[in-house]
């Protein structure tokens, strides 16, 4: 334990982190957002899921923190159209957004790593078919695939069922839509690793292909996987927000940041801008810090990959 800690303390990763202001600030903000959203049941002033505490008379109250005397001190960031406290709803919403983002990335990674390993290690026909498939899917853009998939799911299961199961459905939809990114990255590094001597040696010893793939090659492809994982979380959060905004994602009763923005959109014309703008800002900050961290990680772990 102590040794692992010392190793971490002397590592290049920590060194470059402590010497990069952007990384430190992004990481701090991300930490605050994640901790804040996951401890929402403890710190949020209201429970947006508890209909008993919501009073429709409180709807569309302007943010109290703006300080022009309007609103109620009970609701620092105002309320939405149903009288839910914006701050609490946003915290709960961000929790769903982050949860789906992480889940979707786990799903993509599982699919992408498996197929990427197969394509890279076996090669030939398997490689050709899988990569063609990835190319085609990518040419349709992940957004399009996600929209179409969720639309099909929704018409297949009906809106009611879909909304009940929205979280797992969204994870599956975004996971399927984005697997080619992983598969391509993994395949490229597997191709490079496969020719190295340690793989030859393992083969000579007589290890099975699957053992060589999982135990020998995979650990050596981890750093590019880590790099794209960060960026993919940001992408997944963004896709989820877009789907929810279109009404294909989280229902308004259990809103994520995207569905909050959607439900506030119509009120923007009557002057209640905070219902849309606050979750919007939160979403942008969340995505931006993850992207900045991803950029930093890419520079540190893989200088060769760095472009622009």
């Amino acid at each position: 334990m102590m040794r692992a800690w010392r190793k971490f303390k002397e590592s290049y990763l920590l060194y470059s982190f402590l010497h990069d202001k952007v990384a430190i600030v992004s990481f701090t903000i991300l930490l605050v957002l994640v901790v804040g959203s996951f401890s929402a049941p403890l710190i949020a002033p209201h429970d947006p899921y508890d209909t008993a505490t919501i009073d429709i008379m409180n709807s569309e109250l302007p943010p109290f923190l703006l300080g022009n005397g309007s609103g109620s001190s009970e609701f620092p960031l105002g309320t939405d159209s149903q009288g839910r406290d914006m701050l609490s709803t946003m915290l709960y919403g961000m929790r769903i957004s982050i949860l789906i983002g992480l889940g979707a990335v786990a799903m993509q990674a599982a699919l992408g790593i498996m197929l990427g390993l197969l394509a890279g290690y076996i090669g030939k026909k398997v490689d050709a078919v899988l990569m063609r498939l990835a190319d085609i899917q990518l040419s349709f853009s992940t957004m399009m695939v996600a929209i179409v998939l969720s639309a099909v799911f929704q018409s297949m299961f009906g809106v009611g069922r879909y909304e009940e199961m929205a979280v797992p459905f969204l994870i599956i939809v975004i996971g399927i839509a984005e697997w080619p990114q992983y598969a391509r990255t993994v395949r490229a590094s597997v191709m490079a690793e496969r020719k190295k001597e340690y793989v030859e040696a393992a083969r000579v010893i007589g290890f099975s292909s699957s053992r060589i793939m999982w135990r020998h090659i995979l650990p050596n492809t981890l750093s590019p996987i880590l790099v794209i994982s960060t960026v993919q979380v940001a992408n997944a959060v963004m896709s989820e927000a877009a789907l929810s905004f279109l009404g294909l994602g989280m229902p308004p009763t259990q809103p994520s940041l995207g569905s909050l923005i959607n439900s506030g959109f119509e009120y923007i014309f009557s002057g209640s801008w905070w219902i849309t703008i606050f979750p919007g800002i939160l979403l942008v900050v969340l995505i931006l810090v993850i992207n900045l961290l991803g950029d930093w990680l890419r520079d540190v772990l893989n200088p060769k990959l760095y472009k622009g």
């Binding site: 957004m143 929704q154 018409s155 877009a242 472009k307 622009g308």
Partner: protein, 324 residues
């Protein structure tokens, strides 16, 4: 070159077949046409007879071939909301979407190339740094949020620009166009800017990094040594090779653009295909959904094939190494 063209076209046909298969599978599994046609009072036996008559009990492959034959003639089925052939409904809305994509494409083209080149030539200048910093913020803002903020600032607060619809359109040979009326152009501004906002940062970054790489290469150094004028080096020698990857990425991104029109059109109530598609999803109008899929699929496949062919034309290496 000829073999290359043939192979690309063959590939395009296969992709189209796969798309039609997916479309057909959606049509088969979502919704029951017999239930849509008949009321509650129709007995099970009569239903079965109708199923037979409509050929719904035939094997999958027979039905698929029938679907394909009809699709080749442009018949994908009736949209049960519009009571018209689905393809006709889609084609009527297509101009709105295509105009939006076209205008955004033009905007991206004329902004990203100069900014990208400038940032590559003078990477340390203030303007380049602002452009680079701005581009990472730009990538992090979802399109629909950009659109909402633009509406809030320019329509609600300032009241300068309209926030929804296409405005006045003129009919030019069956093409409902908003490009030729002042009102139509005014309505185009906000949607175009929002749609470009995703791609613009990406292209600026791409052009900058490619250009920087090219500027480091041997032949550019040789050109400097030869004493060529810097304009000639930058815009003729370096820029030409920068374009290669930009063409490929550009082709792929058109797909993304069309996907994002769904978002932009929803925010701006733009009466295009994307808006129609979402309506079709809400009403479970399967035929319309499939028609949209196939139409967009055709656009993607054509664009990608053309881009590949252009790429093959510009870059001889593709043709040679692609041959086996």
């Amino acid at each position: 070159m000829f073999a290359f063209v043939i192979r690309r076209i063959l590939q395009a046909v296969i992709v189209m077949l796969v798309i039609s298969m997916i479309g057909f599978a959606i049509k088969q599994n979502v919704g029951d046409p017999v239930r849509q046609l008949t009321g509650i009072s129709v007995s099970a036996a009569e239903r079965e007879a109708l199923r037979d008559q409509l050929g719904l009990n035939d094997p999958f492959s027979v039905q698929y071939v029938r679907f394909l034959k009809k699709a080749l003639h442009g018949d994908i089925g009736q949209s049960f909301f519009y009571k018209k052939p689905a393809m006709e409904v889609i084609l009527k809305k297509a101009p709105a979407t295509l105009e939006l994509v076209f205008c955004s494409g033009v905007l991206i083209f004329f902004l990203s190339i100069p900014i990208g080149i400038y940032a590559a030539i003078y990477p340390k200048r203030i303007f380049s740094r602002i452009a680079m910093g701005g581009s990472i913020v730009g990538v992090s803002i979802p399109v629909f949020l950009t659109a909402i903020m633009l509406i809030y600032i320019f329509s609600i607060k300032l009241g300068w620009l309209p926030s929804f619809g296409r405005g006045e359109t003129v009919n030019i040979m069956g093409w409902e166009s908003g490009l030729f009326t002042g009102d139509g152009l005014l309505h185009l501004i906000l949607p175009t800017v929002s749609l470009s906002s995703i791609m613009l940062p990406l292209f600026i970054r791409l052009i900058r990094s490619e250009m920087m790489e090219v500027l480091e290469s041997e032949y550019i150094r040789f050109a400097w040594a030869k004493g060529l004028h810097r304009w000639r080096i930058w815009f003729l020698h370096a820029f030409k090779n920068t374009l290669l990857p930009v063409i490929t990425v550009g082709g792929v991104q058109i797909g993304t653009m069309i996907a994002f029109t769904i978002l932009t059109e929803t925010v701006f109530q733009w009466q295009g295909m994307g808006f129609l598609f979402l309506e079709a999803v809400e009403r479970s109008d399967t035929s319309l959904l499939v028609a949209y899929l196939i139409f967009v699929g055709i656009v993607f496949v054509i664009v990608n094939t053309v881009v590949d062919l252009i790429y093959g034309l510009v870059n001889p290496m593709v043709r040679v190494t692609g041959r086996k």
